[in-house]
Symmetry: C2
Subunit: 380 residues, 2 copies
């Protein structure tokens, strides 16, 4: 199989322990033995979410969890405020549209973060808003939103606070209970460093009160069914879950517990700082303002005179390091380095060693070793 | 990990080759290398479906594919005919209800199969029916429906023919193109013998013509998005798929190709005959009429004087063989032996050896070895 180093904002490289756990024998998903694995996995997930709530596993991509959050908690015709500063913010609008929910967009320029004041103003101006969606870590632009501070604003309003932490949970600070998040969703293949294919959602009592009074417009993602099955003996999912991926996520969560969540977040912050410094040391420019630059993915402006396929193509084909490109109107204008999951100085040393050679090969006037030096400075 | 023998109607035992393939390194799901694996996997799936159509992989349980089939092809308020003779037939009604589709039930007694005449009559009586759903292999009752013969009826009507082959594809005869099936769905963890967590759907031009004129009421399972992404270079899924499970399914499909689909179906038929004969040799009674008894799961009446936990509990705890119980109103009234996927005389010899001892231990007046002898007779 391919040994290209994945420096993507997901999927991330998976620990061999996780791959090994995943290849265990399949057991009956309605057995006591699986019930135990399932319970321990969701309990560990709630620890990472920092919540007393139950967490639920969904057999589906992160988008399935985003849909579950919105489709269960807002009725068709009701208003939702969608904060949009990138592709995943937009996705919440598209989901709302699919379900006939009246999506109100709070648009911020791609590459900037919404402010708590903007959210407050939008809520003040329209008291019919039933829920607010925000993407904590906008993978498409490398921007982290101030979900803690927005949480303080949200406490003064009845609207549900729905936060997408797909590419931040386990890598950046998320505290579901303290921030007053009503519904929080995540994915397996980002900072949690399990394989893709599972997503998760946690919902508090305020969310359930709303959901219990709404007829779900989706069957597969009807959270009331997950709640009922999850409360059974043994706890179950309503439909056959991906047993192997749950083994994998369980092992990945054990690794997180061993590392310690605070240590893990500090490691991500160091990796992000190292990346920003290395980018600048190679005379490249970070796309968002540094004050809002993500802890898990760094977006970099495409330098003048080269194309996406120059830089990413050489990185991939010659140096076996895979970076991500820009999406939508940022295609060709930025490229992105994911530093999430199991990333250490090693992966960043490889990445910036390769990026130095790539830029030098493209005749950039740079100090080829400056990137790696900057990485070393941050990690020392 | 647990080494209990799974004789369930899914998940089924997975070949070590498949587990090994699953634990390969994760690659970028938007890379050329993954595009090749993805393409070959969907091509092999289309071969098993026996169709010239494109097949699509969904990161989700079989129920996700059932929802995708219905929610994309019938508008809210339009009529759908749901043939119901068990739990999975009912699920199609519940899905239709969730999407505001006008579900017309064609109910047959649990344990019997619908006839082509009944379907024809229902279609004649209501020309507003836009689609018909049928479960080929009703796992909950161990009944196989005559999807080939119903296909002949369907050719005279405009309604779309939607067939759930979740627990039959790769184990019983399915020929999407010859039977005139417009939309066919399946799951990874039944006769295909891959781990659970993936489902698949294939749709013909008639289905696409309808779907292209409907605004999808689901976002995650909007098939137009899968069609567009699947036609890209490289072919992709709209949302991050479960890369590892696709490796696993790819390997499982290679095993099917090596065995040969016809040989595989013949093996399932032999296993089903062996099971039925062994059941009778132990003085037990098959729940459905033998003429409609499934090729992949056999439902058996619970004998007088014992409970489900007597039989299945002893089988599981003492003999390490896991059978399935009855569902809904059949709970306690039947138990089920799955013989799908990689099943051979070996698993059935173990199962009927254990069942013989279990019944003898419960003071049944039987010839304890008669079950295994009947298995041997069928396989010799």
């Amino acid at each position: 199989m391919d040994d290209t180093l994945l420096m993507l904002p997901g999927p991330t490289t998976v620990d061999p322990r996780v791959l090994k756990a995943m290849s265990d024998n399949i057991v009956n998903h309605r057995s006591a033995i699986f019930g135990e694995i399932f319970t321990e996995t969701t309990e560990l997930l709630s620890e990472v979410f920092k919540t007393e709530n139950q967490s639920y596993l969904l057999t589906g991509s992160g988008t399935a969890a985003m849909e579950a959050a919105v489709a269960n908690s807002v009725k068709p015709g009701e208003k939702i405020l969608n904060i949009v500063g990138g592709k995943f913010g937009q996705r919440f609008i598209q989901i709302a549209d699919s379900f006939g929910i009246d999506a109100q967009e709070l648009a911020v320029e791609w590459g900037t973060a919404v402010t708590p004041q903007q959210v407050e103003e939008a809520l003040k101006n329209d008291e019919d808003i039933k829920a607010v969606t925000i993407v904590h870590n906008e993978t498409s632009t490398g921007v982290a939103a101030p979900i803690k501070e927005i949480g303080k604003v949200m406490k003064n309003y009845d609207a549900l606070y729905i936060v997408d932490t797909v590419s931040s949970l386990g890598g950046d600070k998320v505290d579901v209970d303290k921030y007053g998040i009503d519904i929080c969703v995540t994915g397996s293949q980002k900072c949690l460093a399990a394989p893709p294919g599972l997503s998760a959602i946690t919902l508090n009592d305020d969310a359930w009160k709303v959901i219990d009074n709404i007829d779900s417009k989706t069957y597969y993602l009807d959270m009331k069914k997950y709640c009922k099955s999850g409360a059974g003996t043994p706890p179950e999912t309503p439909y056959t879950p991906s047993v192997s991926l749950i083994y994998a996520l369980f092992e990945a969560l054990k690794i997180i517990k061993e590392e310690g969540l605070d240590n893990r977040i500090a490691r991500h912050e160091t990796a992000a700082e190292a990346t920003r410094n290395a980018v600048k040391a190679l005379n490249l420019e970070i796309f968002p303002d540094e004050s809002v630059s993500s802890a898990t993915v760094t977006a970099i402006k495409m330098p003048e005179g080269v194309t996406d396929s120059d830089i990413r193509g050489i990185m991939r084909n010659k140096y076996k390091v895979e970076l991500a490109g820009g999406q939508d109107h940022l295609k060709g204008n930025i490229f992105r380095i994911g530093h999430m999951g199991n990333v250490s100085y090693k992966e960043l040393a490889i990445t910036f060693s390769a990026l130095g050679m790539t830029l030098k090969g493209l005749d950039f006037d740079i100090d080829m070793g400056a990137g790696v030096s900057a990485v070393n400075e941050s990690f020392l």
